[in-house]
């Protein structure tokens, strides 16, 4: 395994924490991992970005160029990063905040109501990062759920563990749901193809 992941959005969405948790989960999974981030006062309120590389072998260069998996949680981030994805890669879009997605030829785009779920199903908008993390883990299999849950528990502020785990699980479920949908769709497609062929 060698996956390069970019989480992008705006300051305050907690993407750096999400990146750290994802990276820590990879450590729990016994993998090599590296996490980098955009940082500093210039980032206050502005764009925010975390990058994670998870691999089975030692990672030399730590920066993510064109990514395998991209999460975009704001329109600005989407415009900037959605297209920087490998062919066959994955772009996860928070459709609550992102209205239009540029052409990402060759990659799969999954639109999820991430912030909406945080706001309404978890009840705290700030947990959108955990919903997103759950979705990423669920869709792209970046970490085992056990490792990810352990990392969430250990890294979020004390007293907020359950809330964040709830968000994370909702994200996972959302991903599963989509996966099931997709499987169904694929099946339908295959049926259609099959029928076309006849």
């Amino acid at each position: 395994m060698h996956k390069e992941i970019r989480l992008s959005g705006t300051g305050g969405q907690g993407l750096i924490l999400a990146g750290i948790i994802l990276a820590e989960a990879a450590v729990h999974d016994g993998r090599e991992v590296i996490e980098t981030q955009s940082y500093g006062p210039e980032a206050r309120g502005g764009a925010s970005r975390a990058e994670v590389i998870i691999a089975d072998e030692a990672i030399d260069y730590p920066k993510v160029g064109v990514a395998d998996v991209v999460l975009v949680m704001s329109q600005e981030a989407c415009n900037r990063y959605a297209a920087q994805v490998k062919p066959g890669g994955l772009v996860v879009v928070d459709e609550t905040n992102v209205k239009s997605v540029p052409d990402v030829a060759g990659a799969r785009v999954v639109r999820l109501p991430i912030t909406d779920i945080a706001r309404h199903e978890v009840g705290r908008q700030v947990t959108a990062n955990m919903v997103a993390l759950g979705a990423l883990v669920g869709i792209a299999g970046l970490a085992t759920p056990e490792a990810a849950e352990r990392a969430v528990r250990e890294r979020v502020p004390k007293g907020t563990e359950e809330l964040n785990l709830k968000a994370f699980r909702l994200g996972m479920e959302l991903a599963m749901e989509r996966a099931r949908e997709r499987a169904r769709e694929r099946a339908r497609e295959r049926v259609r193809e099959a029928s076309d062929a006849t």
Partner: protein, 378 residues
């Protein structure tokens, strides 16, 4: 009180702090500056737990001064800063060097000169780390290229500093400082920790600046009965000021010789595929990571490339360069500056191989592709 053994995700700055604790750090004085602040923040938390002391001083000059005082009082001591603060510490570094007081100075490099881009990476302080203070002052400069290396190398920094009684500069860059990687913290019992040589004689017989064969004078802690004098004036073996030619000469030359004596023990260089290499990259810090990928890619493309990864920048590893220059066609030196260590590589290569710099100064790290391209050109 090093942290729990085992694999952990750590930030570079955190690894620096944790590694320092593992090395026996007991006093830290600093003044906040991006991108080094997390080191101080971490130590503010960790030191008192181990009975150590943390203090935020009024500026960087006070910080370097305080750690020298603390070291004289017997504690392993460190400060951490970035470019502007490193410039301010230069006078103090010279004092520590001349009086042979062990201490570690961390400089997390950012874009400079002056305020520059505080949050962006560069490697512009490499020459300053060697030459920043006035007068002749041999100094050891170490430079990690990963988080795990940061943890391990800062321990070496302390060990060198204590063993050889000299300040050690620990030169990080913003990328290494802020990225997080897996670090496998060894068990305490696995960590070799050096202590400064302490006097084996009675106070009456103690000559604080008389060195033995290793050219390192034993050092007494203040308050332990050895009432001796320390001064930044040129001093003789007794530690008192002198202006006698022979003694002025002796001090400078001993410090120089001590560094030459220490050199083999403090020079950490990884050679990767250098033996049969036609083209060699000389790299350090975060740039060495890109270089390592570039070398792998070059080999994959059939180009016999190799990498000299310097973890010790000073004393400059002349020998490694000289040997590589004898066999290779060219040496490429990628740096996030306008060309600093490339000058040393040129000097050490002495015309035996072509030496080609590769500068990037736009606040972004050099990529493997850039290095690869240069390797293919030369």
């Amino acid at each position: 009180m090093p942290s729990k053994a085992g694999a952990r995700l750590m930030q570079g700055n955190e690894a620096c702090a944790e590694g320092a604790m593992a090395a026996g750090l007991r006093f830290f004085a600093g003044y906040p500056i991006t991108p080094s602040t997390e080191i101080a923040e971490e130590l503010a938390l960790l030191l008192p737990k181990a009975g150590g002391k943390f203090i935020q001083m009024e500026d960087e000059i006070a910080s370097i001064s305080a750690i020298i005082g603390a070291s004289l009082a017997g504690a392993k001591a460190m400060t951490a800063t970035s470019g502007p603060g490193f410039s301010l510490k230069q006078e103090g570094i010279g004092f520590a060097s001349y009086t042979e007081v062990p201490c570690v100075i961390v400089n997390v490099q950012r874009v400079g000169p002056s305020t520059g881009v505080p949050t962006a990476p560069a490697q512009g302080d490499v020459m300053q780390a060697r030459w920043g203070t006035h007068g002749d002052h041999p100094i050891v400069v170490l430079c990690p290229s990963s988080v795990a290396e940061t943890f391990a190398l800062i321990i070496e920094a302390f060990n060198i500093s204590e063993r050889w009684r000299m300040p050690v500069v620990f030169l990080m860059d913003e990328v290494v400082a802020h990225m997080r990687e897996k670090v496998t913290v060894p068990d305490v019992s696995q960590i070799a920790v050096a202590e400064r040589p302490r006097p084996q004689v009675s106070p009456e017989q103690y000559l604080p600046y008389a060195a033995g064969e290793d050219l390192v004078p034993p050092m007494a802690d203040y308050g332990t009965g050895y009432r001796y004098h320390v001064t930044g004036l040129t001093h003789d073996q007794t530690g008192f000021p002198t202006t006698k030619r022979i003694e002025v000469d002796a001090l400078t030359r001993r410090l120089d010789a001590k560094m030459r004596m220490a050199a083999p023990h403090v020079t950490f260089v990884d050679e990767i595929l250098v033996d049969d290499a036609e083209v060699v990259v000389f790299a350090y810090g975060i740039t060495a990571r890109a270089a390592s990928r570039a070398v792998r890619d070059a080999r994959a493309q059939g180009l016999k490339a190799g990498l000299i990864k310097a973890k010790t920048l000073w004393p400059f590893p002349d020998e490694h360069v000289r040997k590589a220059a004898e066999r290779a066609r060219a040496i490429v030196v990628p740096e996030m500056n306008m060309g600093q260590l490339v000058r040393e590589v040129e000097r050490a290569a002495a015309g035996r191989a072509r030496v080609v710099g590769l500068s990037r100064v736009d606040a972004e790290p050099i990529t493997p592709d850039e290095i690869l391209a240069r390797l293919r050109e030369v």
